[in-house]
């Protein structure tokens, strides 16, 4: 990848980060404060979620360690493997926290966050398609950067679906 492409990527990433930050501050938090407020039960749920995510990450790393010791060659670049493990931990945390009502704080506007996740999902799908067209899914026999974008897209789609399921459940309960 050329220097200009790396610079363009970093610039795009920075812009997206700033955009998300601005949207969160302006629209997604009802009181326009950066800090999200959680009540005591939500804090407890979040802590439990972090614990389960840690165990998922630990278990995943243990599995990779065992595979390495057994000389099993994975068809994934090492950074894709690490990213997959982080994504796994995120999936565990987000799913648990959303389903137990600990993910969104008291001052969060859930609809705005839903929109952010949906936009990010579309953006990451587009990036994944661009990278697959440009570099292919497999480089030198291993899934590389294209795989990372696919995982990113999967994460955003997963979060959007879990939020939708939770909202349906909420409506039923009410």
């Amino acid at each position: 990848m050329g220097n200009s492409a790396v610079l363009a990527g970093e610039f795009t990433g920075l812009l997206i980060g700033l955009l998300i930050g601005a949207v969160v501050i302006i629209f997604a938090n009802k009181n326009h404060k950066i800090k999200t407020n959680y009540d005591e039960r939500q804090e407890m749920i979040r802590n439990k979620g972090f614990k389960y995510a840690f165990f998922a990450l630990f278990g995943g790393n243990l599995l990779i360690f065992i595979l390495n010791v057994a000389d099993v060659e994975l068809p994934l670049e090492s950074y894709t493997v690490q990213f997959t493990l982080v994504a796994l931990a995120l999936v565990v945390y987000v799913t648990y926290a959303i389903m137990k009502d600990g993910y969104f704080g008291l001052n969060n506007n859930v609809a705005s966050y839903q929109l952010i996740f949906a936009v990010l999902a579309i953006l990451f799908i587009v990036y994944a398609v661009i990278f697959i067209q440009d570099k292919g899914l497999v480089e030198n026999g291993k899934v590389g950067i294209s795989g990372v974008w696919i995982i990113n897209a999967f994460l955003m789609i997963w979060i959007s679906v879990v939020i939708a399921i939770k909202q349906l459940k909420e409506r039923k309960d009410e």
Partner: protein, 64 residues
């Protein structure tokens, strides 16, 4: 164990779970979890709920 006394006291003041949650400063789901008996609130939250509903801790949270 379900906290029916809390539910009754809230309904007595014609407050929804959302209303009570807003006045106490917690989420609606937290009030729902307390009423269902799925969550044991801290003493601080119990006191806050009692103040809003005009009840004592014994009346709302003491198990006979």
């Amino acid at each position: 164990m379900k906290n029916l006394r809390l539910k009754a006291a809230r309904a007595g003041l014609d407050l929804s779970q959302e209303d009570l949650a807003g006045r106490v400063g917690v989420s609606r789901q937290t009030i729902s979890a307390i009423e269902k008996g799925d969550y044991n609130p801290t003493i601080n939250l119990c006191v806050a709920i009692c103040k809003v509903l005009g009840k004592t801790l014994d009346e709302l949270f003491w198990e006979e």
